[in-house]
Amino acid sequence: MSDGDEPAVTGEEVRNVADLARVDLNDEEVETFAEQFEAVLADFETLDEVPEIESEPDLVNVMRADEVEAGLTQEEALSNASETEDGYFKGPRVS
């Protein structure tokens, strides 16, 4: 992922991205991904040849009044959580 023509991907760079994405990887995965990413990023680099196009986005923001409707019950919302406490989701400690 240097600025050269051929992006060379190091294991350290793979680990850095994996940290940002909150995905642990083992050493074997890091090695495989570094190799595979090099080829995929080389494909991405070819986008550099794309001309600039003036285009209008098709989608526009649509606003509506905020209306209160029935949603999931607390019990339903918690039904797939493996850790709950007093009707709340229970997550790991922050730090």
Partner: protein, 432 residues
Amino acid sequence: MAEFNAYITKARIDGADDGPLAGKTVAVKDNISTEGVETTCGSKMLEGYVPPYDATVVERLKAAGATINGKANMDEFGMGTTTETSHFGATLNPADTDRVPGGSSGGSAAAVAAGEADLALGSDTGGSVRAPAAFCGVVGIKPTYGLVSRYGLVAYANSLEQIGPIAQTVEEAAGLLDVIAGSDPRDATTVEAGDDSNYAAAADGDVEGMTIGVPEELLDGADEGVVETFWDAIEDLEAQGAEYVEVSMPSVEKAVAAYYVIAMSEASSNLARFDGTRYGLNAVEAGDYDDLSEAGNWNEAFATAREEGFGPEVKRRILLGTFALSAGYHDRYYGKAQDARAWIKQDFDESLQAADVLASPTMPVPPFELGEGLEDPRTMYLADANTVPVNLADLPAISVPAGEADGLPVGLQFIGPKYGEETIVRAASALE
């Protein structure tokens, strides 16, 4: 029943007593939420997840009288072209069990091809309905973006994906689209174009006077047998009164790169929700801890759950997407991919002024042998060359069986203008 491993979960969800789909069984891809019935997305991450609500398309199936007979196997989170990345094992192609059924909606297409379901729903982010339809020898439709509600579809790449029908015939696929199409207040990207549709009526085979454009770029590098079958089908259409013209779309050569940058970027954001707190594999289970307090802080705990819950292809795409959006690379990759997307749209607009529909082989190759592509993800990405441009341009497309090459099914893809579902249905029905 498990002959082809088309289903992750067998179930029986009864619909209304009557309606256009009364008496029909429908397989629903396992990334579409079904109230009370496990919905895994083909991932260990969501094994055991039971949605507390129905997707809008599931509500519409039930209201139309359909019987949902199970949740169809798929590439994990829709990420794959072969259905081999499923945590629940590969689906086999009923046309040749040494081959993959295509993906990512491989279970849906295989269920229909094998007669295990009358109809099926898949989702198509970059060809995931059309590729398996082509490989299994059935019909699949990717609707215009916004025609079908995505409420209850577990998101992979929101700006690209649509739920689409799979069936044995064009008319049945169009009829299923009639049931699921239409605006939905719970998906703000839906449009009214499909509200009172009758796409099934367009399956009349009348191509007299229709102009069919063939983008030469979509034949480049395709397998010889596939190309031969393709041209035979075009000749057949000419004999029925259609006219064929060549069109050129230089932008499509950038489509695969643009697609993967955009899809992976959106995936990296969408799949951030899977941290094991509200649903999905939890750090305690993933790390074999006795208690959550042993799993470390939230960064460590989430990374443990995600390492264990996601398979290699999903990790690959999350990481590449995270990279493409990271500081210093955003403009170079994501920004450029958006330019390419606009360029591709422009090329389609021009081509669809010269022709009523565009045609290409759906897949440039015959069905892969099982295991053939797992080692080299890039080869798999390139197999999507003819399907991804359609998603980038938000257009409708259909894959219809066009014959065989070396005894294996070949699909032909028709691409129409925005909301041109009737035209692609009509063109495809002329090949049956």
